[in-house]
């Protein structure tokens, strides 16, 4: 059974009849030009935007979950994260347990271990570099052990090392029947990590499926409005403006 199924998601001026399914173990990349509706789609799935249409979680309508029940299943990593206060890393990761109303020390430390921030547990967040902070924000989501992680451009401002690191962690998360849906601009990087692609253009699905169906020169050139060269056979894959 599909882990999540979106049917005719519609949001005024942003999304137009978007339908797709994500199976357990999958990593789905939402791609498309700026303003295509990537963030809107993720935020609708996370319950942050009131999109019309239906969302099913393991076959159950998502609106039948209460907000806490939904938060236990679906974790959301926003594009821009910050902490208003100089909190210790461990305290931030522990906030991921809020939907469970507990402070599960095992889950918190497991999340810190997976993201490699255990050694910084007692450090203040504002003492860390951007790449280290990115892993802390992700650890916060992992601590809630959600079945699905929605990540909005999680690697946008990171250097090459941390880009790979974050995507490795997300890929790891898709084991054990979990899934990840992420918005991403780096198509070549996405081609290395993601099983499925959802190419959005002006709020509609322009193409959906495995890399070889979606990441074609015709599809991408059409969606982005520039001529794009694609070589998926190359290792690592090459996707560049021609």
């Amino acid at each position: 059974m599909a882990l999540i199924e979106a049917r005719n998601l519609t949001l005024e001026n942003r999304l137009d009849s978007v339908s797709f399914t994500v199976e357990p173990g999958e990593m789905l990349a939402i791609i498309g030009p700026n303003g295509a509706g990537k963030s809107s789609l993720l935020q609708s799935l996370a319950g942050l935007l009131p999109a019309g249409g239906d969302i099913f979680f393991t076959g159950i309508p998502l609106h039948s979950f209460n907000p806490v029940g939904r938060a236990r299943q679906i974790g959301f990593l926003p594009q821009f994260c910050d902490s208003a206060w100089a909190l210790a890393v461990e305290e931030i990761v522990a906030l991921g347990r809020l939907p469970w109303r507990d402070r599960d020390i095992y889950a918190i430390h497991q999340a810190m271990r997976e993201t490699g921030v255990e050694d910084m547990a007692q450090k203040n967040i504002n003492q860390l570099s951007g790449g280290e902070q990115a892993r802390v924000w992700l650890a916060r989501v992992l601590a809630g052990v959600p079945r699905i992680i929605l990540a909005d451009e999680p690697v946008a401002s990171l250097d090459l090392y941390y880009q790979g690191k974050i995507l490795d962690i997300l890929r790891q998360h898709t084991r054990e029947g979990r899934a990840v849906i992420l918005a991403i601009h780096d198509l070549a990087l996405a081609a290395r990590y993601c099983d499925h692609f959802c190419l959005l253009k002006q709020g509609r699905i322009h193409a959906f499926g495995p890399p070889e169906t979606v990441l074609t020169e015709a599809n991408l050139s059409d969606a982005f409005g520039v001529s794009i060269h694609v070589d998926l056979a190359h290792s690592p894959p090459i996707i560049l403006p021609a």
């Binding site: 319950g47 100089a86 909190l87 461990e90 305290e91 906030l95 939907p99 007692q122 809630g144």
Partner: protein, 336 residues
């Protein structure tokens, strides 16, 4: 498996704050123009034994100390809650328009003598209503905007309340009434009785309870509104509850004691290191520090040389404003 310890090296907040508060309260009971045995006086007052010590303790010092304690706790707690909600360490009940609204409400009742049937409670209730109204106006003006906008909106509404208050003063029926009101606005916990305490205590309990239940929201809001919603929290409803709680606290405090500035700003700031900077753990330490600060300030007022008494609100403002400037100075350096 190696788990790092959650507990910090800092001693737990209660160990530091409660003894300090107790000492300040007892000192406040023992300081005054006439030497009076504190415990004996209290005991006499409790068992209804007439006499000077019972009169001084029961009618003057106990209400004064209890009011200082409650006003300080209310201001510290509301400051901590508003700072957490707005994600801004510079949020002060005064910067959200609540204090001015409370002052305006209470002052209007003084002047226009409305709600005469309520007696001493009329200005108190009007102050509460004024604080609530200004906070709602501020929230409405800021919409769902960023915290910075909320502070600007608060400033705008505070100016509006200030203008209305000036108008009330302008059209004062006679100069004596005006003088009385101006003095009242400067803030004081003296010349008040147990009736004021009986009004303030329930407001403190209700405000505290409303805010206390929103601790998960305050914690989640550290990471922003989007994260809080995605964690399953009702930000809109919870935010309104916090604002309501803060309005009750500030409204009741200002209505009973006038403007006691900067306590709501400074108390959470001093409490933050004891709460590991967590806005949800900040609440009662900020209340305890606020109470201690106002008790100390009120004792300072009483220890000043006799003659023209400096008002409590004037003293806290004279001490608080430089601290506020220092806080901004520190933040400026952090942003450079």
């Amino acid at each position: 498996m190696k788990f790092s310890t959650i507990t910090k090296k800092i001693p737990p907040a209660p160990a530091l704050l409660l003894p300090g508060l107790m000492v300040a309260f007892l000192l406040s009971l023992s300081i005054g123009s006439a030497p009076v045995p504190v415990l004996a006086g209290l005991l006499d007052w409790l068992i209804g034994q007439p006499g000077i010590p019972a009169l001084v303790m029961g009618e003057i010092r106990l209400p004064r100390s209890l009011l200082a304690l409650c006003v300080g706790a209310a201001l510290g707690l509301s400051g901590a809650a508003l700072q957490g909600l707005l994600r801004n360490p510079l949020a002060d009940p005064g910067l959200t328009g609540a204090s001015q609204g409370a002052a305006l409400g209470a002052a209007s009742v003084f002047y226009f003598a409305v709600l005469p049937g309520l007696g001493v409670f009329a200005p108190l209730l009007a102050g509460l209503a004024g604080a609530g109204l200004t906070l709602l106006l501020t929230l409405w003006l800021a919409g769902s905007g960023r915290p910075a906008l909320l502070l600007l909106a608060g400033l705008a509404i505070a100016s509006l309340s200030g203008a209305a208050l000036a108008a009330v003063l302008n059209f004062a029926p006679n100069p004596f009434a005006m003088q009385e009101l101006v003095f009242w606005l400067l803030g004081s916990v003296s010349e008040r009785g147990m009736a004021h305490f009986a009004f303030l205590l329930p407001a403190l309990v209700v405000g505290f309870a409303l805010i206390w239940r929103q601790r998960p929201l305050l914690a989640a809001l550290s990471l922003g509104e989007q994260v809080a919603v995605s964690l399953g929290l009702d930000v809109r409803r919870g935010g309104r509850v916090i604002v309501l709680g803060a309005a009750i606290l500030v409204g009741a405090a200002v209505a009973t004691a006038g403007n006691i500035g900067f306590v709501g700003l400074i108390a959470p700031h001093l409490a933050r290191p004891l709460a590991q900077n967590r806005p949800d753990r900040l609440l009662w330490p900020a209340a305890a520090i606020g109470a201690t600060l106002v008790l100390i300030a009120d004792m300072t007022v009483r220890l000043m040389p006799p003659g023209r008494e400096i008002r409590l609100g004037v003293l806290t403002a004279l001490i608080g404003a430089p601290l506020f400037i220092r806080l901004i100075w520190k933040m400026r350096r952090e942003w450079l």
